[in-house]
């Protein structure tokens, strides 16, 4: 409020004495930055003129113009002594250093000098700027400066050094990683709290998985926590929490621990205790138990949000066992809780939320209550943070409604709240309502219905429905209120033709939910609603009422009796109805006809037939189709009664049975309320945007960190082990996902085999939608396909994400490079997957018809020879197809070859001797015996003299010689060389121009694969499938390393354009690097246009390799 006052006064003064205010400011420079010759000013001897020049440049920068042309001139000014000028120059320099790397190097000397300045401020500034330049060329210098400053006597400089660590880490230089980690460790153990905060941030970006580093300092870090600056606290708290989870697991007494299935007795203990405290809350507490397990799982495994969590629950309940729990007496956990509780009084809302999440995860169920009041107090802070806090409270109250239940008044809506905040508050209120508070809440809701924001009023009506569903004791009074509201609204909607009917619709929806709980007792309500049909002319509202009429047509006498009238009314109005209402009328009349008494049956049948007849001539084709379909389906009912007609064919009987089943209302469509199950760590960005943001890390597996007493020297080892573990669990979970999706598709496809089932399936699918109309989706008119496409989208997204390791799709390629670290991990996964599918092509070396029934096949092996780099490994498989035993099988070099080899040996110069000393082949030991139908595999190491011409060899078998030709495969003249993307790109630039060869071809083999998997509804998976197919094809044609894949993220789902796969290899004989890049174009369902590019220093080899690749890829 102080702000507010000063702001007003500022504005007033600004208005009255604008002129006075602007005197002496830089207004002139901002408004007219170019009214002086900046170059001239820069060259001036006077600092003040230099300063003015740089200020003008900054003004131009802030207006978005490019003034990098002044770079050399400005850099010269670094040598000046005025700190003001220096700082301004730093600002300029940082903005453009990347653009002008060469000139930026000129400044290094000045930095070196400033880094040893006695003034810590100057040292700090120099370090910040030097590290901020972020050029690879100066990285070693920056690293040296950083190492020095990390031991600086001034804590300010050390803090700046800690902040500079991530800047160097951004450069992603392998050789620096260990140094950076060491420095992070050093700074974490600093004695000044202000340094620790920044070091925590550095740790988070440099080596977030190296938890052993925290382990060494755990107690000290906890104790320093209250003195660390607020921003550091936010990050440090999170790190400490992560560490305790990994080290000790979760606490049994905590919310997370109490839901352990195997500890039933313990759990009941807890509920009893809670019962004692808040009498109201037993039921919701128990039912929230299941959702808590979901929470825990999402926290630890990352949220695979697109699946109904219940499936996962039932399948692998055993993965989190007792071992991952500890008790609240654990010293470390106690200390952490103790040190974070004062933070709940912080002035910084982010600190409070971070501390709250520690208590949420770790504190015992009683102690968690501590976080409630501070969190609620945050609702009095500024509007943006209020929203974030409410989002988190909503998640908390889903798991533990009783925590917030006594404080329901804090969630009452204020007229100044924005719509989102009001909506969140409504949600929370309906979650935490109890028997004792519901009456107050309903009173509030009555006020909200009168609010000017009609959208909010409609939400309130929906919330009333939720509350009534939850607390049956108020259901009747809610129902009364809602009915009155409907009367009111429907009369109003007459007077205002274009009025907003959303309130009406949600009121009817709410009634539907309430009635659905106990239909028979609300018979009159349904009749009353049906009567009001005449007054309600909004189609969606009518749809809901008609659905209810159909669904509950036989629950009581009153409704049974009035059904004639209702149906007759509906038939009369049928032609004038909207399309969705028509659908629903037909459905309702079928339900009525199916459930009717014998005496009413003829009438209802007649009505139904009449309706179907009407529908068959409707202008809407969908309705027509459906009418035809229904008629066929209902033939058993409309033509003959099954009881009477015994001759009725069995299939007909079955059909009528199915029809009864379909329309009996036993189906409950699974509504994909994915939002409800998307749970991320409290306080995270992902929780607010409801998808995993890049860089989001769920908790490490509980108790995954064991070795605490390791020595300093060992810890890098353990770190690598740890990270390996991480990636393993990750790939494990992604496997799970893909398993799930394939299961699902199997289920669908298996259903498709039987044609009878097929029909039924189709009806189910369409019926799902029809029934859904009664549920909470508002999209009625959509066909069955819409649901499945949604599902497809969801599924494909997940599989994409599992492939990319939770990289959200929208972030695009630019953020890929941001996540270089994770990216590597994702490649590892993909390689594993692809390696399975790689099948090297098998060639025939020796036909059985040529000799005595011996067949010899060969394929090139990805192994590289241990003897000499120029040798290629060939895997030979000998198979005896004859009935006789073969003996003494071997492969030898021909004499001819020997001769030529010796000749060349003589004629060649000494430089090639080394090459020549290697014989053509390294034969394997002789196979003494090959029994009939026995198969033996051997590795032969061959040196091919030429990469296209075959080599002649002799096959020995039973003392006979057979000449054979071994055709070389150029793809195996290379060996995989592992490059990261950065080096790959650098090499690519190096090998451009004449060393670059490209060709295009058409790739079709993915199509058959896709067709093959056509039952799989996953559309996005197809891009993945294309990618997989391409990769496996390349990998099976050439012995190369799969560097990376760029996924296209385009608006069009079916477009593969932009898919880019990179491979790298090294030529065996010359050790030269050879790069392959494949990009695609076109939709996945059509033949793809591939651009294959090979970068290689050896022209002939490169071209041959390219031709080979293209030939192989375009092969069907």
């Amino acid at each position: 409020m102080f702000q507010h006052m000063s702001m007003v006064s500022g504005a007033d003064i600004g208005a009255t004495s604008n002129l006075v205010m602007r005197i002496g400011t830089d207004a002139r420079l901002y408004d007219y930055p170019e009214d002086a010759d900046i170059g001239l000013l820069l060259d001036s001897r006077y600092d003040s003129e230099n300063i003015e020049a740089v200020k003008r440049l900054l003004a131009l920068i802030s207006k978005g113009s490019d003034v990098s042309d002044f770079f050399p001139q400005v850099v010269k000014k670094l040598a000046c002594q005025t700190l003001e000028l220096k700082k301004l120059v730093y600002l300029y320099l940082l903005h453009y250093a990347e653009k002008r790397p060469n000139e930026a190097l000129l400044s290094i000397n000045c930095f070196q000098k400033d880094l040893s300045d006695p003034n810590p401020l100057i040292r700090a500034c120099a370090l910040r700027t030097l590290a901020g330049i972020r050029l690879h060329t100066i990285a070693p210098i920056s690293l040296m400066a950083l190492t020095k400053c990390a031991k600086d006597p001034s804590p300010y400089v050390r803090k700046c050094a800690a902040i500079a660590l991530p800047k160097l880490d951004d450069l992603r230089q392998e050789e620096n990683v260990s140094t950076l980690e060491e420095l992070a460790g050093l700074l974490l153990s600093d004695h000044s709290p202000s340094v620790i905060g920044a070091a925590a941030a550095a740790y988070n970006s440099v080596c977030p998985h190296n938890l052993s580093l925290i382990g060494k300092n755990f107690r000290r870090l906890c104790e320093a926590l209250p003195d660390v600056d607020e921003w550091g606290q936010i990050i440090l708290v999170e790190i400490l929490l992560r560490y305790t989870v990994a080290r000790h697991g979760l606490v049994q007494e905590s919310i997370m621990g109490s839901l352990l299935g195997s500890k039933v007795d313990h759990f009941t203990d807890n509920t009893e205790r809670i019962q004692g405290n808040d009498g109201d809350f037993t039921t919701s507490d128990v039912c929230s138990n299941k959702s808590n397990l979901l929470f825990l799982r999402s926290y630890i495994e990352g949220s695979n949000e697109y699946f109904p969590r219940t499936n996962i629950l039932s399948t692998n309940n055993d993965r989190l066992d007792l071992d991952s729990y500890t008790d609240s007496e654990n010293k470390d956990i106690k200390l952490l809780l103790q040190c974070t509780s004062p933070l709940l009084w912080s002035q910084n809302s982010a600190v409070i939320l971070a501390a709250s999440s520690v208590h949420w995860i770790m504190a015992s169920r009683e102690d968690v209550k501590k976080i409630v009041k501070p969190l609620l107090f945050l609702l009095r802070s500024c509007c943006p943070s209020k929203y974030v806090v409410l989002c988190n409270i909503q998640v908390f109250s889903k798991a533990m409604p009783y925590l917030f239940a006594p404080y329901y008044e804090d969630f009452f809506v204020s007229s100044v709240d924005s719509y989102q905040i009001r909506y969140l508050k409504l949600q929370i209120l309906s979650l935490i309502a109890t028997d004792s508070s519901i009456s107050y809440i309903i009173l509030e809701f009555q006020d909200y219905i009168k609010d000017i924001d009609r959208r909010f009023a409609a939400d309130t009506v929906a919330a009333i429905g939720l509350c009534a569903e939850k607390i049956p004791s108020v259901a009747n009074s809610c129902l009364k209120g809602l009915l009155a509201l409907i009367r009111d609204e429907s009369s109003a909607s007459h007077s205002i033709p274009h009025g907003d009917a959303s309130i009406l619709v949600s009121a009817i929806k709410s009634i539907k939910t309430i009635v659905g709980q106990n239909p028979s007792s609300h018979e009159k309500v349904i009749v009353q609603l049906a009567r009001s049909l005449d007054a309600i002319n909004y189609p969606l509202a009518r749809v809901f009422i008609i659905w209810m009429v159909g669904e509950y047509c036989s629950i009581g006498q009153i409704i049974r009796k009035s059904m004639h009238i209702i149906l007759k009314y509906l038939v009369r109005s049928f032609t004038s109805e909207e399309i969705e209402t028509k659908h629903q009328i037909i459905n309702a009349s079928i339900k009525v006809a199916l459930g009717a008494d014998e005496e009413d049956m003829p009438l209802f049948k007649k009505i139904l037939m009449y309706l179907l007849h009407l529908a068959k001539y409707d202008s809407n084709y969908d309705l027509r189709d459906r009418a035809h379909f229904m008629e066929k389906l209902l033939v058993s009912i409309t033509n003959s009664c099954p009881e009477e007609d015994i001759s009725c064919s069995s299939s007909n009987k079955k059909l009528s049975h199915e029809v009864n089943y379909i329309f009996s209302g036993k189906f409950h469509s699974k509504s994909y309320q994915s939002d409800r199950y998307k749970v991320y760590l409290p306080g995270s960005l992902s929780q607010i945007v409801l998808h995993a943001a890049p860089g989001y890390k769920s908790f490490p597996m509980p108790c995954s960190l064991h070795d605490l007493n390791q020595t300093q020297g060992k810890y890098s080892d353990s770190a690598s082990v740890l990270s390996d573990d991480d990636s393993d669990t990750f790939s494990g979970s992604s496997d799970e996902k893909s398993d799930y999706s394939s299961n699902n598709s199997n289920a669908v496809s298996s259903g498709m085999f039987d044609s009878m089932d097929n029909v039924q399936n189709a009806t189910e699918a369409s019926q799902l939608i029809i029934l859904d109309a009664g549920d909470d989706t508002t999209k009625i008119g959509q066909g069955a396909s819409s649901l499945s496409t949604d599902l497809e989208e969801l599924m494909s997204k997940t599989s994409l994400e599992s492939w990319l390791e939770e990289q959200p799709s929208f972030s695009g390629p630019s953020s890929f490079s941001a996540q270089g670290f994770e990216r590597q991990a994702s490649i590892r996964i993909s390689l594993k997957e692809i390696a399975v599918s790689v099948k090297s092509k098998v060639h025939r070396l020796f036909e059985p018809t040529d000799g005595n029934g011996l067949r010899v096949d060969f394929s090139f092996s990805a192994e590289t020879s241990k003897i000499s780099p120029v040798l290629v490994c060939v895997e030979l498989s000998f198979e005896n197809l004859s009935a006789e035993t073969l003996t003494k099988l071997a492969i030898k070099d021909t004499d001819e070859n020997m001769v030529t080899a010796s000749q060349t040996y003589q004629s060649q110069e000494s430089s090639q001797i080394k090459n020549m000393t290697v014989p053509n082949i390294f034969p394997f030991e002789e196979i003494p015996l090959l029994n009939p139908y026995q198969k033996v595999k051997k590795i032969l190491q061959v040196q091919f003299r030429h990469h296209i011409l075959p080599i002649k060899l002799v096959l020995l078998c039973c003392d006979k010689k057979y000449p054979v030709k071994l055709q070389p495969d150029i793809g195996y003249f290379v060996k995989p060389i592992s490059l990261d993307l950065k080096t790959f790109k650098n090499k690519e630039v190096e090998l451009s121009g004449v060393y670059e060869y490209t060709r295009s071809c058409i790739f079709t083999s993915h199509i058959e694969k896709l067709d093959h998997d056509d039952n799989n509804p996953v559309s996005g998976d197809k891009i993945l499938a294309v990618c997989r197919k391409l990769a496996s094809k390349v990998l099976s044609s050439a012995n190369v390393f799969f560097v990376s894949v760029d996924m296209p993220v385009s608006a069009k789902v079916d477009d593969t354009s932009g898919l880019c796969l990179r491979f790298s290899g090294e030529i065996l004989s010359t050790m030269k690097v050879c790069l392959i890049t494949i990009t695609t174009e076109g939709g996945y369902s059509e033949p793809l246009n591939l651009h294959v590019k090979v970068n290689c220093e050896e022209t002939v080899f490169g071209l041959n390799l390219l031709n080979k690749m293209v030939a192989f890829l375009s092969e069907k």
Binding site: S9, H95, P166, D170, P384, S815
Partner: protein, 419 residues
């Protein structure tokens, strides 16, 4: 971590940008126009826009203050509250430096804004946000410095030395402050939030208060403050200078104060019963007309004058004509259908009344949507929560005893009456 901060004026113009990351993490300016288009498409106030937005390329956090949008961008996971809190802090500091926040002030002092941002955040992580240290690193513009720069043509606002406080364990206070005056002012600033439901019941009545301290004490003073009735405090948040152990054990505030003005603590007191002002709206509609009466008056006399009373409400939709008159003060109806009734000082002897007839749109028989009345006022010299400072001890201030001043004021916070 934040990647970039933009300052955008309320007309969508980018005032300045501060890139925090290099190496392809630069955020293009086009994100601002995306943000602006998004805002326009939402059709709501800037202050009511969702504070965390996932744009196609970046996650955006924004805080709207004094006609300026502080926009932070990131591509990776980070604590959203941290970003928001930091942006708020930037806004606070800037308004403190420039004596307010508006587009012109920003542009006129853009160099200072750059310098401040540079000190406040480095590589996306907040560096120095303590106002006292900042004030030493970069001198706030003052009339004197402005005049000096006009006269001499040069003046530097950048300090050449590192403030001592950066190394101190009490970063909010420099060690060697010398003052001629030796005084401390304690100011209880309270806001009262009241909600009255349509049937006249008191739904909510609570006070949010801040203790603002202005200290100009030499040396390294150690203060101890107690309340007569600390038990009424429901929720508290403290400035980092407060020793929490002391509070936990004896409910006393013990601290080394920062220099100058700061917020010592904020608190909330819930479930109060006494409201100073009542407002009673009455609507009776029939036959396309609606008669409206609004009565206001003093409910529980706080003992001081209730000043600058303003009653504000949105006119309900479907109103064709309205004629509103009042017996005291003035009524204004703005273009956006907000009706403001300014009463000024609330009289004790007379009951102000606003009355009039609303003619509804043809076809609308009666009013179904009723406005919420928002009330604003100010009472000087009293804290409505009745929180009282019992005692204030100051140690370590040298020979002379410092002057201690106490003030209090209450204003309406979220004070609303539903109808």
């Amino acid at each position: 971590m934040l990647q970039c901060i933009f300052l955008i004026s309320d007309s969508g113009e980018v005032i300045l940008e501060k890139q925090l990351k290099g190496q392809g993490h630069r955020v293009d300016r086009s994100i601002c126009s995306w943000f602006w288009d998004h805002y326009v498409s939402q059709g709501c106030d800037l202050s009511k826009l969702l504070p965390v937005i996932a744009s196609p390329t970046h996650y955006l956090f924004h805080v709207f203050r004094g006609g300026i949008v502080f926009l932070g961008c990131t591509q990776v996971e980070m604590s959203p509250l941290m970003a928001i809190e930091f942006l708020c802090r930037v806004a606070d500091i800037l308004s403190d430096y420039l004596g307010g926040l508006n587009e012109d002030l920003m542009k006129d002092n853009f160099v200072i804004v750059y310098q401040l941002l540079d000190e406040m955040i480095d590589s996306g992580f907040p560096l120095t946000t303590e106002p006292n240290i900042l004030r030493e690193l970069i001198t706030p513009p003052s009339i004197v410095s402005k005049m000096l720069s006009v006269v001499t043509g040069k003046s530097s606002n950048v300090s050449n030395t590192l403030p001592n406080a950066t190394a101190s364990c009490v970063p909010w206070r420099t060690t060697d402050i010398k003052y001629k005056s030796n005084e401390v002012y304690i100011n209880l600033v309270e806001e009262i939030d009241v909600t009255i439901s349509s049937d006249g019941n008191l739904v909510k009545c609570e006070v949010y208060g801040e203790i603002q301290v202005k200290s100009s004490l030499p040396g390294f003073p150690d203060m101890n403050m107690t309340f007569t009735n600390p038990s009424i405090l429901n929720d508290v948040r403290f400035h980092p200078c407060i020793r929490l152990r002391q509070w936990e054990s004896s409910q006393a505030l013990s601290f080394v104060p920062p220099d100058g003005q700061f917020k010592l603590m904020s608190y909330r007191i819930k479930k109060l019963k006494d409201i100073p002002i009542y407002v009673k709206p009455q609507f009776s509609s029939s036959g396309g007309n609606c008669r409206m009466n609004v009565f206001a008056g003093i409910r529980n006399d706080p003992g001081r004058a209730i000043e600058s009373v303003v009653i504000e409400f949105d006119l309900p939709p479907h109103i064709a004509v309205n004629e509103l008159t009042c017996n005291l003060g003035t009524v204004n109806i703005l273009v956006n259908k907000v009706c403001t009734w300014s009463i000024g000082r609330m009289p004790k002897d007379k009951s102000p009344c606003l009355s009039g007839t609303l003619v509804l749109n043809p076809g609308v028989k009666r009013l179904r949507v009723f406005p919420v009345f928002r009330i604003g006022f100010k009472i000087m010299g009293i804290a409505l929560s009745h929180l009282q400072v019992d005692m204030l001890n100051i140690k370590n201030t040298g020979s002379s005893t410092p002057y201690k001043g106490f003030k209090a004021q209450t204003s309406a916070g979220d004070y609303q009456v539903r109808s």
